[in-house]
Amino acid sequence: MILSIQNLSKKYRKEKFGLKDYSITIENGILGLLGPNGAGKSTLMKIIATISQPTEGTLTLDGHNIVKEPDYIRKILGYLPQDFGVYANLNAYEFLAYMAAMKGVGGSGLRKRIDMLLEGVNLVEAARLPIGTYSGGMKQRIGIAQALLNDPKVLIFDEPTVGLDPEERVRFRNLISGMADDCIIILSSHIVSDIETIADEVAIMKHGTLITKGTQAEVIKAVDGKVFEIVLDSTQSDAFKTNYQAINSIRQKDKIKLRYISDKPAGESSPCTASLEDAYLFLTKQPLI
């Protein structure tokens, strides 16, 4: 499948853009979307999920214009929004059956499919209880289960690991890794490590525009050989930060270990292997051209 986005813009009001002249082509595999708050990640995902319309540009899935034919993608879409809710009075089984009806799927296998999905997200024991009694993590898991109900070919996960504990996050990453071969999976997260471990490609966004897109290795190239670490007295660190782009600091009893990006190392710095997080922080702090 090929999802092609060409010159897409979403204008909210005069000169206020959610997306601006955004172009990207997405094929089967996992695309990790990274960007600070307000970068336009959720706007992009909403447009792909057909619940928001672009002001300009085209969006096609295998040649079908999904702005004009939203039902084409809706049949094969699995969408987990960032801030979704549930009907508190329904139990997990009833809720998933309702979601299946929404997606236009049924048949004799539906019940078994729901059972297996509930088993997969470990909600079997709670399946007959009202969802209103669930914890945040359990609700997130029911959200993941609904996204997989209709054998989706396009999966959109907007901040899917919010509310999941560290172990659940690992399991979730394993789960979607196994699905990437015959699906387009678009995954946004603030947690770079979530993207780092599973994304085939990474797209970094800022102020509604695409800064870069490529494999992780391609994206990391932007900071290759530019990442260093230095240990400073705590009194020196503020002055250092004004001259260098600090990425991370670790307090170590009267000392501070600073990780920074620079073309040339300062003082007694030691070089570090660049990571996706380094590249992300470096690229999103550069002024837009």
């Binding site: 619940i51 309702y98 997606k103 049924g106 078994k112 088993e119």
Partner: protein, 521 residues
Amino acid sequence: MKYVGSIIKADYLQRTRSYAFLITLAISLYIAYTFVPAPGAAYTTVRVGNFIGVYNSAWIGYVTAIMTSVFLSLIGFYLVNNSIKKDIGTGVGMIIAATSIRNFKYLLSKALSNFLVLLSITAIVFIMSIMLFFIRGNRYSFEVTQFILPYTIVVLPALFFISSLAVVAEVFLGRRPVIQYLLFFALFNFISANVMMTKGSTMIMMLDPFGVKAVTMGMEDFVQTHFNKQLHVVSMGFNFSDKQDVKTFVFEGIQWQSAFIISRFMWIGFSLLLIFISSKFFHRFDVKERINTKKKKSLTPNISSGLITGDINLSALPVITPAYGILPFIKTELLMLFRKGSKWFWLVNIGGMIALIFAPLSIAHQIILPALWFLQVSRWSDIATKEKINRIHYFTYASYQPIKRLLVSQMIAGIILAVALALPLIIRYLINGDFIPILNIVAGAVFIVALAVCFGILSGGNKLFEILFFLLTYCAINKIPFTDYFGGLHNDLNYSGFMLAMIVLLITISFALRKYEIRHL
């Protein structure tokens, strides 16, 4: 008090910056316009025996003031009785609970914010009343005090009382909105009966929170003095009875008795006392979830952290087939309608249905049916807005054909509920071979659900429909012809045709709005 001021301001702005409030203002303007009927109109509002005042400043000022006091007290309660609920829903309440603000100050700020909301509506009505003077009564001199005095003395304390009462109701019955509605309705009717039906006395006048009795007594005295006739204010509201014998008189306002003025302050003091008492019982947002918490307690230890097992193999999942029917939707929507609210409330519904079987046919149709339907107000009011309220709309709007399938199913489920409740009455008409009332009842069921859907989508919330439905029910039970949406007063096919046109209009608007909404999140 600085913090209280900030809470009032924030609360007031949050509530008034909405389409629902704008629509409420528009409806209020229209209602205010009807307070002073045009000379050729088929109804009167305030009448002393067969006398009505000429349209001078005093008559228009006093009549619009007492009508505002009564109507805004009635509607106002329903309009503002969700201020604490909003803080619970948004989570702001948890933050407030962790601050140093005292319960009394918090509740007082909510009451004052309620008061400001009602005051804004009053301001619009006040301006409309002056405009009405120039439209209807420009032969007479304009005296602004004849407007200011009744509005200040009669309306403002009444609105403060209602604003406080709404807060008190939320403190004690926050989770039971329908019981709040019913109790307030009973209280309102009790006070109204006390004011309208009893002979005037200083005590009755002082015990009237709406401040209406003082004015009607003043009007009666005026007629007695000038025409030597002991007449009572026979109507206050919309009276469609014969207007032919109506005579006019020049009303010049009333002498405000000091006892009455003192009583107005007493009502303000009583309102503050009510807030103070309720502050001792205020939960301070330490509220349990509405869902059965006993089950949650047993659930949590069993599924402590909960893990995604990671062994979902999509290709191994059973095959599903396309199924675009709407029956699963209708089933779930009915399930949600049925489960909403306390299950004990169904006993009241069953009681209403039994009453539909045994009550005289006209009472069953004209009073019990609209009352029984109104009891479902909270089930219908969010029929098309619950997706947004529960943040499910991301799923529903991205679903396959969300209007043709989901919205239609929601409406069908709502109509099934309405028709099911009316079934005993329908069967009675069926046995009598009387089919037009059946048609009108079904049309009424479709109309009320379409109204809920339309106003829900239009305003983005429940409140507007709830108020309108209440007003419709109140007026319909009082036999105001144009509010007879269920055909209690009309037994003809022309009326069915009119209802059909209204339904088509509402559904068309709803579909158009939802069509826009689903693509513009």
